[in-house]
Symmetry: C2
Subunit: 325 residues, 2 copies
């Protein structure tokens, strides 16, 4: 039933536009009887979307926050805003989500209607990059490379190596890696027949998209570590923290370039971490969301205290979670 599918999508979209809906209103909007509406609501529920309802006068339906992310239905303006926000985040303005931003960006740019793409480009042209992006990376370049990685397309670009010498490269891109300060592309160099790591800010991609290639086995399991070794990146601030949970419980909960988790026993482990500032180190610690013991260094202790306060303030002003007043 094509019409049913479309209607479910419309129903979701209505719920994203407004929180509360009376059953009669929804039924009228969708041009169905209220019985069918109830059935549709049931369908959404059985698809995993938590729709609360209340009886009586002033009753109605409301979509709550579930355990999984429902599809986001954006109008044109909103899509442009999201694309711009992601470009910002991907450029390094928001530490900790760079890789996810690029992934989301390549998703949205792939399906963004051309007329909206033009608006994004126009707005982007005037927007300044975040001040602390060390070597500003073109969001479009990032997104293009990310797409090539995802779609397994060969890529040709001009590259300026650390000595300043320019060369033309032809590669099979494998993955983008962000060290938190810079972007790197791990790719198989077709000419040199070996894996290479490229700094993205030194890449000038060609317009032409290459043919599809079969994916190769990556040069290392932990690409973040592979890149880190290759570029001898030495974070200024380091610390060893004892976490009061099992190693498995935190594995994969934080970007891998942040630090190493090593088990001590069944309910504690060591977190060896490095970052460019104690502030960001403290943040990642808080992000882990587990109990830990921390005595030194003093700077980190202080930062964690500061963060705890900020975090409290930030959450104190939050949205209420009530179902109904």
């Amino acid at each position: 039933m094509l019409e049913t599918s479309a209607r479910l999508l419309r129903l979701l979209s209505l719920f994203q536009g407004r929180r509360y809906w009376a059953g009669a209103d929804l039924a009228a909007r969708l041009e169905i009887t209220s019985r069918t509406l109830r059935r549709d609501v049931d369908k959404l529920r059985s698809l995993g979307y938590p729709i609360h309802s209340t009886s009586g006068a002033e009753g109605g339906y409301q979509l709550g926050a579930g355990s999984a992310m429902p599809p986001l239905l954006l109008d044109d303006e909103e899509a442009v805003a999201v694309a711009l926000g992601l470009r910002y985040a991907a450029a390094g303005a928001i530490e900790g989500v760079e890789e996810a931003s690029v992934r989301a960006l390549s998703k949205i740019e792939q399906i963004l209607p051309p007329r909206l793409g033009r608006r994004v480009a126009a707005l982007q042209a005037v927007v300044m990059m975040p001040p602390h992006a060390e070597s500003s990376v073109n969001a479009r370049t990032l997104s293009a490379i990310a797409s090539a990685c995802r779609d397994q397309e060969a890529l040709r670009f001009r590259y300026r190596d650390h000595a300043g010498a320019a060369s033309s490269r032809s590669v099979e891109p494998h993955r983008l890696v962000s060290t938190g300060r810079r972007w790197y592309l791990v790719a198989w160099d077709s000419d040199r027949k070996d894996w290479r790591t490229f700094r993205v800010d030194r890449i000038q991609p060609r317009l032409t998209a290459g043919p599809r290639v079969v994916p190769r086995d990556p040069p290392a399991q932990d690409l973040a570590a592979y890149v880190a070794r290759g570029i001898s990146y030495a974070p200024r601030c380091r610390a060893r923290i004892k976490l009061l949970v099992a190693a498995e419980a935190v594995a994969g909960r934080l970007p891998p370039h942040i630090g190493l988790i090593e088990p001590i026993d069944a309910h504690s482990c060591t977190f060896e971490a490095g970052a460019s500032t104690f502030e960001s180190l403290a943040m990642h610690l808080v992000l882990l969301g587990v109990d830990f013991e921390l005595t030194e260094p003093a700077e980190l202790v202080e930062q964690v205290r500061l963060l705890a306060k900020r975090y409290a303030r930030a959450t104190a002003g939050g949205l209420s979670q009530r179902v109904r007043s």
Copy 2:
């Protein structure tokens, strides 16, 4: 058919994760025969999603950019990145999309699973606001107010007026308006029984959400103009530009606070615009996407030339639009 709807969504999500898919792969993923896959593809097509396909060896399917925005299917990481990027954009970092950002933000925060909401809050606590946000507005406050407007909920907050005197307000929020420099809330003050305009950066919202209220007629049709009058906001840079299209053709194509469109005749009109810098004025001009005549002021002319160049550069490095290499 519930399963069919869910499968269509999964199919869309697969397409957003990778561009090219062989029919057999898709069918295997969805555990259906290739015939059913073709039927599903047809369904998506008839729902308006442009899915291209190619025959022959190495053939396959690919989702292109259509004329409408398909639902965005994000994983957890990506959702967090989007929420953070939007908070950034809403805070004024990206001129021109503030209102859309807030709308998208309140959409996504409403359905964001709580565990992701915590991550957003944690990351947000460490992220600095954009440097040029004149009076920094808490993204959470903005999002809370936007939700209240959308859901027609009464709102109580503490307000510090321009003299610095604090008061407690109880309002029926109507709409958020961004002048490009600051956020304002247009609301019906329940105590004073009149419309009021509040500067959002002076609002300290209460946690408790109020009861739902029936929407009132707004105090003016053009709320942006209403707010602008109320705050006597005088942009430093002004210009009158002759646009070579009918007034109707551009109406509603740009944020209303930017300027006024007045018809001259059937194929031209006057654009009276103001902005804080000639640069942003030039941007909005380019954004209109129509032919125009511009001779003065000289600063604006220069900015438009600069912008045209930048715009060209920005689009020159773009993603290719090919269907297949």
